[in-house]
Symmetry: C2
Subunit: 457 residues, 2 copies
């Protein structure tokens, strides 16, 4: 097993070449114009996995969405099976002018790979292909392996739910292995045991039937931007509580004991503020920064637009104002229920002088991973082997809605062995993935297979 | 004098041709890319005025801004002098997809001219050129006339103040005549006796030094959009009062008697709401709709942007959020003072978790016209002649900051004989100017000259 280090060393130039080819395909799932790139990216994975040593691989259609790449390698029917899940789609790249490199032309600089998808999730899922390749080539694979790569994770995995429903047998596994999260620091391994859910909406506020002159009408007719701001402002009170009625009704209260355990994870607030260049953090009263993102819901406007946004001054009361709004949810909040509560509340507080429309864009439930299951123990031991210390269980503020879906549809738990770092700027300009994390990931994954197979034997 | 009607009839096709040529030049003053169109438009006016019969005309540079077109026709030094002021610049045309015609290709349809500038102010100032042409050609001009057309009215006339300062003698006149406002209705003539001032700013709220993943940071780090909305929401209280400290300190209180006179102007709230397709109006408590735009200040966000505004859902906490904000001011508010108050207040209520910047974009003071001066009486009589009824004095909610500037620098009052209508959609898509208003304007203006010369004799 220790040959993995020399295998990486001997093959790393080829690894980069293959990964950079994957990154070069601009597979932005939220943009219609990149539709052909989704197919291209799936085909690229098809080739990657066949070369890595799977028995068979297929690019499979979903009902109306982007294709899924499915592959498998069977050792023996009585051996345990690991299903590796990842996604080949990426986030949009704007604001483009803030990038220091070309987003789809990966560059290695300062010990990091810089590109959209370098971490999320092309870099991280690629580690699995290479760890698997090593185990096959050196005849050390101790269990059956399946791969499933989807192309809609960044837009809510809409069509993967149906795909899972339709292929329950094919996807049967003892555990789902995922690298799409991050760890505390390069020298502090951690395993994500919780993910927030989310509900994402687009809001449109309409005032008059046309843009109005702000002098002739200002002060007498509702301004949809002023109104939208007022509505948004009312969603969070002075204690950082979300004001939507019944919003917290289903929130699973985390015990003081559990909170005290979580508080042991190292966190340096000064460093955090310095790294983000902010003078202060803010959030819900009575909770720490880690708790605010880990165990509490949040309400964020992800985008807002309306009126004149060009050069100079235009005096206008626009006819419309828009916002994209996301809430992150925690166990046991239901994203559909929350969506209905939000929409009803927003409309109830809107003045008669405007019309308000809410469109549901996407959503997903949260996930909690039990730390006493064999897969968790195997992952823990794998990290211990390569890092020399036990990983800390952490709750991530992010969402991978389909993970809760797997639990529900396939009745299979997932283990989240993420090798990203908080500073990787995923979803932002200048996304990057440190080489150290990339190599350490490829090195650690084979041990997971080894220990998991031993524990399940 | 009555020949004016037949003169219009005989020449209207030529008038349209000339006006449409003027409209065809996209002289949007707020956009750098249209810089060459400003010069082109000034040259077009130069030709128009020479052909209309001025003694001399010159395109004169301003110090750093768009050129001014100046022309004059002297009858006799001892005769009174009227200075006609107008502007050849127009507003931007976005949102472009809401236009039913090409903004710069004027079309006549349903008895109206449809185009950017059809009313504001190409159509209205063009009426003066044609009324003047008629008087010259028929040898009826009873006074000296000067023309001044500027190219920066829509962006605050920044360089016209200095131009006036530098050319006080050249611009000497007994009255300044302006058509850049509107009247109550086609059959209810009115003269604008008051204009609101304005102060216009751009606000930038900065949170973290980069866009953040809304899952990993949501709830713990300030979201600049949420914060901007909260700041804007705090600017107006539940009674529609602007909350900036000392904002109302200098507001000239309008007496109950004056308010009762103003209330006599016909206003149909149901029609107003129907025409705008709104269920309700809104504004400052204790004031009517007409008062809210006429004698009270207002606070409007003219544009807002930040975060992801593209297709689909991107879960991001943006680094920045922006807004363009305008307040309309009433006598005796000072736009510079208000700007400082706004900036100080905004910064004082901003949380430590963000940085706030305020940039002043433009501003201007308000104007009030005394209704006992000869020019007002002459205008009143001119309207009576062509409309068969006395015009009503009204206060407009709009701003023409340079009108207050003329008063201050040139010590010359202005008379606002506007022929626009509230439904002309100036500053909006589908700007239009009814032919009836256009012709009635050309017909009425010569009578102003006649009566003004008689009264000043």
């Amino acid at each position: 097993m220790e040959q993995i280090k020399s295998y990486i060393e001997a093959n790393k130039e080829r690894f980069f070449e293959e990964l950079f080819g994957l990154i070069r395909i601009p597979s932005i799932s939220s943009m219609e114009e990149h539709k052909p790139d989704m197919e291209k990216c799936a085909q690229y994975w098809h080739k990657l996995l066949l070369e890595a040593g799977v028995d068979k691989c297929e690019v499979m259609p979903t009902k109306g969405g982007n294709p899924v790449v499915y592959a498998e390698k069977t050792i023996a029917p009585n051996k345990p099976t690991v299903l590796v899940y990842g996604h080949y789609d990426v986030m949009p790249i704007d604001p483009i002018d803030l990038w220091n490199t070309k987003p789809f032309e990966a560059e290695i600089k300062d010990g990091k790979i810089w590109a959209r998808g370098a971490d999320d999730d092309k870099g991280q899922s690629f580690m699995h292909a290479k760890a698997f390749e090593f185990m096959v080539k050196t005849n050390q694979l101790p269990c059956n392996v399946k791969f499933m790569l989807e192309g809609e994770e960044e837009i809510g995995s809409e069509h993967l739910y149906g795909f899972c429903q339709d292929h329950k047998d094919m996807l049967k596994a003892d555990i789902i292995l995922v690298s799409d999260t991050s760890m505390i620091a390069p020298n502090i391994p951690s395993i994500t045991t919780g993910l927030r859910g989310l509900s994402y909406w687009e809001v449109k506020v309409t005032g008059a039937n046309r843009d109005l002159h702000s002098g002739l009408y200002g002060g007498a007719v509702a301004n949809p931007i002023n109104t939208l701001c007022k509505l948004i402002a009312q969603m969070i009170d002075e204690n950082g509580h979300i004001t939507i009625p019944h919003f917290y009704d289903d929130v699973l209260v985390v015990s003081d004991y559990e909170r005290s355990l979580m508080a042991q994870a190292p966190f340096d607030l000064d460093k955090y503020k310095k790294e983000l260049n902010i003078d202060d953090v803010c959030g819900e009263k009575g909770y720490s920064t880690t708790e605010r993102t880990g165990i509490r819901p949040s309400f964020d406007v992800c985008g807002i637009w309306g009126g004149y946004t060009g050069e100079g001054a235009k005096t206008v009361i626009p006819s419309e104002a828009h916002a994209k709004i996301s809430t992150r949810l925690v166990p046991n909040q239901d994203f559909n229920k929350i969506g209905k509560q939000f929409s009803a509340y927003l409309k109830s507080i809107a003045p008669a002088s405007v019309k308000v429309e809410v469109e549901f864009l996407h959503g997903g439930d949260c996930y909690v991973c039990p730390i006493d299951m064999p897969a968790y123990k195997a992952a823990e031991k794998a990290f211990e082997t390569t890092y020399g210390k036990k990983p800390i269980p952490t709750r991530s503020g992010g969402s991978i809605p389909i993970i809760a879906g797997f639990d529900k549809i396939l009745k299979t738990k997932a283990i989240l062995m993420g090798f990203g770092l908080g500073s990787d700027a995923i979803h932002s300009p200048n996304e990057n993935y440190p080489l150290e994390q990339f190599f350490k990931g490829i090195e650690t994954i084979p041990y997971f297979y080894k220990y998991f197979a031993e524990m399940m034997a």
